[in-house]
Amino acid sequence: MKPAPFVYEAPDSLDAALTVLAAYADDAKVLAGGQSLIPVLNFRLAQPTRLIDLNRVPELDFVRLDDDGNLRLGAMTRQKTLEQDPRVGRHVPLLGEAVPWIAHPQIRNRGTVGGSLAHADPAAELPALAIALNARFLLRSTSGERWVDASEFYIGLFATALAPDELLIEIDLPPQPAGGWAFLEEARRHGDYAQVGVAALLGLDPQGQVRHARLVYLSAGDTPIDATAAAALLVGQRPSTEAFAAVAHEAAERAVQPVDDIHASAAFKRHLTRVLTERALAIALARARASANAPDRSLS
């Protein structure tokens, strides 16, 4: 199994990449880290006539903190950079906790943030995290640019809001809301594709009741599943094992849309949804309480 022939372009600037993409949008594929695309080419699941390699475009690989405290990531930022850059763990600890769950270090040495987000594999961690963290994506073409919320970006199985001539070039991550967080994933072996994963955020008000809750699942449907109805059950409530169990039940029975696949049956995915939700909420609660007792992070 080897790729079918394709014309190879290696533009050395973003403008050059957008120009060639505009010319060949209908049958070109964009190569970022290649950790998802090259397997597809190797198995001839896709046979694009043109491949546009972004690895020689220097302006897409960056991690910046802007004046609002938002983390800005260039689309070609390697996943391993997120593990190593201390600003990620400091400003978006949920992301910092989740990145080591992405495949293996060998994959993360090449895989990129933008590539994973644009490929839209329902089993990928980064799309679910982007939604949970209210990320925005900057899409650019030769005709202009636009911002799209992560929550609007994923429209179907491996399908996104990207137009054929658009590149995802930057990700804007606001600071994580104050409170607790947890990322959990279940796989048969460490580094395997997730059977189910969950990104959880939980914040408490000064009386100890839930002020905000967010639960976003991966490998639980065609796209990441943002379980807003389940999470809403917690708002205004005192956190408790019973409350978490009710949320987990709602998420497992009504929020997720799992299908049978080689990693797990739909029934087992619903079971994992329930178990991981309860565990993630417990961890997020412990962190929320710990941060409530700690000095205000915004002062440091």
Partner: protein, 173 residues
């Protein structure tokens, strides 16, 4: 100047195991196949061709990557290390790399198909983690599959190599 067509060959200039190398490759030629067939470096093995088995692992600019998920043309201007580069003098009576010696002494291979991938995963791991626990070693090798050994002797070999490397560093002081 050749036209850029789907079957055009591209010149690839790179460093392999410390030596400058030049080859020709169609764009679709994978780095794994370039190393094996263009350069005759058959120590890099091809297993799954979708990134999960680790048999094709090489170092790109010092970091472990899947050579089956890189195009040869992407390696232009970069440095690649294959298993042949771990102990360049070994074929002429020189020493093996400590990891290779430990794999031999602790029986960390049977058929040897997965071994080059393990060695290139473990060499940078030990350089960054000179005193790993067994759990850390198992975690580090989770991206490499072995069908023969059941992994225990691979773990033993890694811990043995780590100990020998630490002792060598201590002895050298």
């Amino acid at each position: 100047m050749t036209m850029n067509t789907a079957t055009a060959t591209h010149t690839v200039n790179l460093t392999v195991n410390g030596q400058p190398v030049r080859g020709e490759a169609e764009a679709r030629l994978l780095l794994s196949d370039f190393l094996r067939h263009e350069l005759g470096l058959t120590g890099t093995h091809v297993g799954c061709e979708h990134g999960v088995c680790g048999a094709c692992t090489v170092l790109l600019d010092g970091e472990p990557v899947r050579s089956c998920l890189l195009l040869a043309v992407q390696a232009d201007g970069h440095a690649v290390t294959t298993v042949e580069g771990l102990a360049p003098a070994a074929g002429k009576g020189g020493a093996l790399h400590p990891l290779q010696e430990a794999f031999r002494d602790a029986h960390g291979l049977q058929c040897g198909f997965c071994t080059p991938g393990f060695l290139l995963t473990l060499a940078p791991f030990l350089a960054a983690n000179p005193n790993p626990s067994e759990d850390e070693v198992r975690h580090a090798i989770s991206g490499n599959l072995c069908r023969c050994t059941g992994y225990q002797h691979i773990v033993d070999a890694t811990l043995l190599a780590a100990r020998r490397l630490r002792e060598a560093t201590t002895d050298a002081r």
